[in-house]
Symmetry: C2
Subunit: 254 residues, 2 copies
Amino acid sequence: MPPYDPSAFPPFAVTVDLVVLTVRKHALCALVVRRGEAPFQGKWALPGGFVRPDEDLSTAAARELTEETGLCAHTPEAPATANGAHLEQLATYGDPDRDPRMRVVSVAHLALAPDLPAPRAGGDARHARWSPVEELLGTTAGGRRTELPAEPLAFDHGTILGDGVERARSKIEYSSLATAFCPPEFTVGELRRVYEAVWGVVLDPRNFHRKVTGTPGFLVPTGGTTTRQGGRPAQLFRAGGATLLNPPMLRPEV
Amino acid sequence: MPPYDPSAFPPFAVTVDLVVLTVRKHALCALVVRRGEAPFQGKWALPGGFVRPDEDLSTAAARELTEETGLCAHTPEAPATANGAHLEQLATYGDPDRDPRMRVVSVAHLALAPDLPAPRAGGDARHARWSPVEELLGTTAGGRRTELPAEPLAFDHGTILGDGVERARSKIEYSSLATAFCPPEFTVGELRRVYEAVWGVVLDPRNFHRKVTGTPGFLVPTGGTTTRQGGRPAQLFRAGGATLLNPPMLRPEV
DNA sequence: GCAAAAGTGTTTACGATACACCCATGT
DNA sequence: ACATGGGTGTATCGTAAACACTTTTGC
């Protein structure tokens, strides 16, 4: 590649920002990190960083995800990593004023992860933590705005987080993506609680069970059972090969 | 904004590329332009160009669209322009090798336009034209690959076009976007032919009619009628306020 | 009259909902 | 025994698919 010629085109900084979502304690949570420097010093922000000169966008996103969480990414190219998370491109944000220092175009990515012990970053909860998206956005799970968030995110990261949450909420309707929030083996009830947390609704356990077990390729039984939720032992499943759900899961009216 | 400091971050060129789709003669077509310079000189490519230093990404896309077609964009911010087209961000492509000259990140946008007289660019069909997406991609409307395209698009524009077509095909299922392919006033039959062209299927005219006229807010009758399709005069409609279709239009199995 | 497209009515099938009910474990 | 969550059966309702049929124009 020829050397950079500043007269040929306007130079931009390109970053990747990550919306990393998980379900903890029946609430949809996002990973946020504390900013150590200006601007927005001390504010919470989405994890992210510069794209390197010879790195693809998805590679940069996977690298940032691993650096922040230790997770490996399930991309279409490498679908079956251990301890993996779903990772997909979300949207790109390039308002000229979104960063006061310089012109930055951020390619946001969406990652879905199972419940993890605790964020890395030295294990210091002051530098990285999972926060309920309700608190970060000031909305209910149904999408209604309640009040302004107590601690707004830095830059336009509130907008990015909102778009990522909206993507996740709509995509679990017609794809098997909800299983990305679950550990490798999970019960139907655990999967149902994922839907309930992400959508902020209560689903009928009986109809949900029939629906997901009746969709070919969605769930495959592993043979094992568990009583970790109490009550009668539940069958364990893992995600099947199907990625598209037809007919889709129906999200109740809000 | 401080001046550019090359030591602070790797510099990228940022462009917008446009997937402009329309329905002509019962076929889904895309706008392509002939490249006048290397690389890929003489090949067909998607229209696009550099983002200017103080321009938002959506502004740059709308500017390129107007330059190439004379269309104004219907964005969420300015929804009601005359002779307008739907415009939305599609995805961002940043493979380090996608442009042999330098590191270029392209923010692709998707535009849907009604059937237009002929492309601009001086009215010269050798420099810009509408081509059926089947020919450009080498696939059938159902999505099956038939053969390699006779004239592959420059750069990774074949991939971008494929993603844009896929977005359009899925989005008309659950939104009123198909009306963006129609003139301001249209008949139910014309709208049905849009769905048939985009999906490459044949739909039952009777069930289609009941479905679209029965969805509140989708279509509003203007009172006029037309016989431009032959047969019994058909009512004219314009797009209603509803943007989301619930329940969605069901795409037949392919 | 005939062709062509618009529009209505009717039958059938399938999936979603609601909910009664039984099952298998922990305490 | 009883609470808890897992899982099955069944009636009802709404929407989609299939298709017979009528309406209104042009030729």
